[in-house]
Symmetry: D2
């Protein structure tokens, strides 16, 4: 219930860090009742310490949801099924976590009767957009308070030292760790690094920045063999040769792949990407397990997915869903529409892939399936099977009708393609 | 000039191997004059031995064209500019060589007055299609003789032993090397392996199959640092730190990258792909230098290419040109059309990329450019620049109009998105 | 049961006309037992006369399936839902009928134990491909006999007079109608005209060619008002003001629209299109009712379909499904895939459209829906609603970040866009 | 030169109407020097009266540019070449005029030394976005003043009566015409109607709203025959049978087509469209000449454009360029990129189209070309030509490999496609 004299109840996405702690206190100062919310999406975090801190500095209550399972099952695995990737490189780790967090928040906001929701995202990034579009897509009546876009707030706190001073004044505990010269965001899928010294795109990230994975150079000399089984394009079984263990629980499969990939130096990238708001930005990411899954899934599709379905899916679902996720339109009619075609694309993606992990490499060593779209006899160069060689003559004759007509028309204009020329 | 009594002159794509040697003799037996043609597209080959053999077994003449430069400049580099890739993995090495070979052949056919052209491709593969569509696109009046699709030929030579017996009868020299249990096709860009034991997609290729590259495990322990400079998306300079050398000739740049990548175990892939004729087929490839160039080019585009141009190019040119190349439609109106948009997409792709090569990994370490599309100050999380945080509030408000309307309409129907549910 | 001495049983797509009657007799001559099949897909035809003729000239049995309902419900309406159209103009009438006919045939072939299937399609058209791909997609073991692609047949019957002579010899009854100088194919959806005098694309079709519709000039002077209601993008109710009648049966709705459109001169087109085999071909079509439905459905989507869903659907489903249908890939994994996304695209396409039919014109006069995606107050230029005008300022500021950066980079290179120049 | 004490010079897009006259005076009141700008893009307007009024109420100067030729040549005809259309129906008339107007304004702003630019667009429409993105794309340093998004302005002038009162106070002449219950925007290409009574999408527009065209019912009983010739997809010659006149000047061709179409009731549409900012909006448009050109151009492409080029162009350039134009990204890297592919798509679009205009209908009666991509003999159903019927057998055999494999795999799972079932 909202306190007498309160402007209302705000649900704050709270991390326990300096920024959101100051925001929590500032919101109280502005006259709001504050409910703190912290989602467990697999990040390394002391959730109890965060709870204690939030309550200590004035939160009316604190909610911590363990969203790891829905993160894996509802966000990560569908992205694997659709081979989601942004600008050819980025596996969308931060984007994927936002919808489950936002949904968790909107559920708590409903239970707690919060009319307001707040977060500590900056005014230049993607995450503010992803959070807020998700909030509005789930609850069109919610009101967002974004302090870092509010001049009253950002003019008052122009830098870290102003926040530290405010914390000192208000008795907000500050951990003694010195700030790293970059920002991070971590979850079960990945960790991101951006800002600070990384803003010069020509600066090589320092070796000690990378937190999740070993460097390929420090990774073991000995390769590791694993097998992943997929059903309808979803990973359902992981076998690790070394341990002899088989993993079938969806979260366990992903967590185990993460551990393997971290050990073998797999999943680091360093890119300049284009944010939704139109700025170019440099980001470094570690997505260990996801990198293995992507390689395995794409490989199995080679064996089990019809050519034309694959081509259409690649042209339509993969880029569109990736954009939708990157830009924060998870709760939207276009996502509903685009994902509705995924199941039909994955019906035959059943089988298993053998992989070798070694110093940053994910090497496919073989794959098998009972689906029957690969026909060894038909494909064989050594035997006739399925069709006659003369059929191909007819095929080429028909396929060339259009080309020959075009070539004749060009010849009639005196144009020849025979001489080497600049291709463009 | 065609000999009296001859059915006419055939230009034969001749490799010096058993198949095309038997075809050469068989064509003569059928009453044709045969002109042999061998293109140097960078494969490891004894061109003089091939010439001698062709002439010895009855060719009227022998032509060998060095097409390496036009292969690099007209085929390989445009494919790099457009990030061409087939089914997400295959860099199109065989496909890229076919157009220059076909063009070389059609030029010789014209000079020599050949009305016929022949080749030793099988009746199930892509290369027959690529060759013949290229022939027809260049010369719609040419007639193709494809022995492996002619029952008179393939019924007579059902296997290698029949060819060997024919060679013995006809005095065709046969080299003593035992046949490998797979087929290969090599050029400057790559080598392919298929057929034979590879037809079981679950068979891991034997370690001694890989010819061009060292395995990552045997590659040097020491990483290698290089810098590649691009102008309009084309590689124009390669600097190798270790040697201190700078390479600027286009062919030299590519050849040097090949040598570096081969040493560091870069560029192996193993896939099941979909052939143009609709069969699934297992192929292994080594594309060493091309793998480095692709990573570097895509990275530089992150820094220098406008977001929307990149997205449209990725959606349109890259997949379409890749398909056109894979399927053999290089000499076609659709290629003319698609490539006409490449220059506009690459105007700003100027700058350089720092890379580290290490045991199969191509690691981007930094990139720079004078293009000015990356604005460190605007992108910075630490300063205001270019726009106000409040602008983003307006942006999100407008972007959410559509979502909120949709969410309200759903709510009016009693549908809520807040409860966790199966995403699909 | 196959007769002793027979080569087997053939199911022949039989029309009762000269070609398929000669084929029927010729197949018997070749040693086959022939089962005749005629589908009722709404064409004007004397089905009993066809049955009598088939049995008289030697068919073992005759099957006639009334496929009109499944044609409307399974082919026509889904095409309306997806706005299918080929090359921007052709509504795919012939293509839509082929799958239901082929499916009817394969069901009879199974019941009758036919290992062979035959048809009278020519060797240059689309329909042979559509039929045969459908046969194979339904029954990969079936064997097709295509007489018009068999030299024994087409060399023996080089023209109509040879067929007439054969008919005379074999006692095949020939109707007395003189042949029209074009070919037609009719079904409930449309009629096509091609070949003969139409092969000169500059020849205006004679007025008496058009069979289904009145010409706009002869159509009534008085406009006709109708209302069509859609549920999930499917037409579910038609109200005709003049008659006061309301039609709700799916077939009745379509048949009634056909009658209205035929009367008002709606649905004629005349195009040069590109056949699947790569030839250009001139065709004229009348698709009366379908033309009205298309206009109505697209209009209602304006009111009820989310912008982004519409754009993605237009970019993906509409062209791909249209191509799939045109080229005859109805029974294919890619159709399964593409249509799986239609329901999600049509969830909100509920409402009704008012139309006026007049001399070839289908005029939209208004539309309404309870879906709630159109918000009169938010859209109104006369009131504030939903968002603040200042939000748009922020929106434009953010949307222009990328453009301004680009413009600054161009200016730094001395390039200005201000002077009028050739756009290209 | 900016006056002492002035805040600076503003270039105002001035129409002479009530809104922009009040804005002009209000800007002066705010301390700016105002330069008025009026572009002649073919709208019906008293340009001299506008000049006199602007100067009378305080403008420092007045500029009127006749932009009709560049509008036709640089905007309209390229859109015709690319078949631009938004949401399948709207021909983009307003969008097309904005870039030339914005470019005219930026040129004057440069000459006059204006640091500010202003316009009278509302805060909910597309035109504010189109104008401002164009301004920024041409001059990233310009500052926009948008009074209708400025609370000081819109709170002061909440409706027409407040503006009228201000006009009375400030001596702004007001024309006596009563305001129509909708807004219009007119140029050489089209006129738009929106807002007011049109905001109810079920309201049929009153007959007297339509200004440019006669209604089909009132159009002449007698059809009109014309011929349009295209070169590289651009209209270069118009022949009108009735007058015997031939028009070749680009503007004259367009103006004449407008006159013909207006007379014959061609080019009206009524739609609900999706604005860039995400609102649905009802608009009515008359685009007379453009409707004829579109029909003629698309028809000629059937005869002269390669199938695959057409398909790729339809899939890529047409929708992307249409979106770019609709959303106001004319001066952008993505437009540069997209239009760079148009010339290659139109090389063969040469020839002429015969058309009949009649009561709202544009009927194609024939077309011809010397391009040679249509081959009457090859296409003929009555003769062999170009390829053998047996080739098609091979073609179908190869095309069905994939389908048969799929059908076999389905059969192995006990799935049959033969029974009629719901397609979805």
């Amino acid at each position: 219930m909202v306190q007498p004299g309160s402007k209302g109840k705000v649900l704050l996405a709270y991390s326990g860090g300096l920024d959101t702690s100051c925001i929590l206190v500032w919101l109280i100062e502005q006259g709001y009742d504050v409910v703190a919310y912290l989602a467990n999406v697999g990040q390394e975090e002391d959730f109890n310490a965060a709870r204690e801190k939030a309550m200590k500095i004035g939160a009316k209550s604190f909610h911590c949801d363990d969203l790891r399972r829905e993160f894996v099952e509802e966000l990560i695995y569908p992205a694997v099924q659709a081979n989601c990737i942004y600008e050819g490189i980025y596996l969308l780790g931060t984007s994927l976590a936002r919808p489950v967090i936002a949904r968790g928040m909107m559920a708590v906001a409903k239970r707690e009767g919060c009319d307001f929701v707040s977060h500590g995202c900056t005014g230049k990034g993607n995450d503010q957009v992803r959070f807020e579009l998700a909030f509005y897509g789930l609850n069109p009546e919610i009101t967002v308070i974004a302090p870092w876009r509010n001049p009253e707030f950002y003019d008052r706190f122009p830098g870290r030292s102003a926040l530290l001073q405010y914390a000192a004044e208000k008795g907000i505990p500050v951990s003694q760790t010195t700030s790293k010269p970059w920002s991070t965001d971590e979850n079960l899928f990945h960790i991101s690094y951006e800002a600070g010294i990384l803003e010069d795109p020509n600066t090589t990230p320092p070796a000690d920045m990378w937190k999740l994975t070993q460097s390929p150079q420090e990774a073991p000399e000995k390769p590791e063999d694993i097998t992943i089984e997929f059903a309808n394009g979803l990973p359902v079984k992981l076998h690790v040769k070394e341990t002899g263990k088989t993993h079938t629980d969806k979260v366990d499969v992903f967590v185990t792949l993460n551990a393997l990939a971290r050990n073998h130096g797999i999943g680091r990238i360093d890119i300049v990407e284009n944010r939704f708001i139109g700025l170019k930005s440099r980001g470094c990411y570690e997505s260990p397990g996801a990198t293995i899954l992507r390689a395995a899934h794409m490989d199995l599709e080679g064996l089990t997915l019809d050519r034309n379905v694959r081509a259409l899916r690649d042209q339509f679902i993969t880029p569109q869903l990736s954009n939708i996720l990157y830009n924060g339109y998870f709760f939207s009619p276009e996502r509903d529409f685009v994902v509705s075609a995924i199941p039909a694309s994955q019906k035959t993606v059943n089988g298993e892939v053998k992989l070798k992990l070694y110093k940053g490499n994910v090497v496919v060593c073989g794959r098998k399936s009972d689906e029957g779209l690969y026909d060894e006899s038909a494909a064989s160069m050594d035997e006739l099977g399925g069709f006659l060689p003369t059929d191909t003559t007819g095929f080429i004759a028909i396929e060339s009708i259009r080309l020959r007509q075009w070539a004749k028309a060009k010849a009639a204009k005196g144009q020849s393609g025979i001489e080497p020329t600049d291709v463009y």
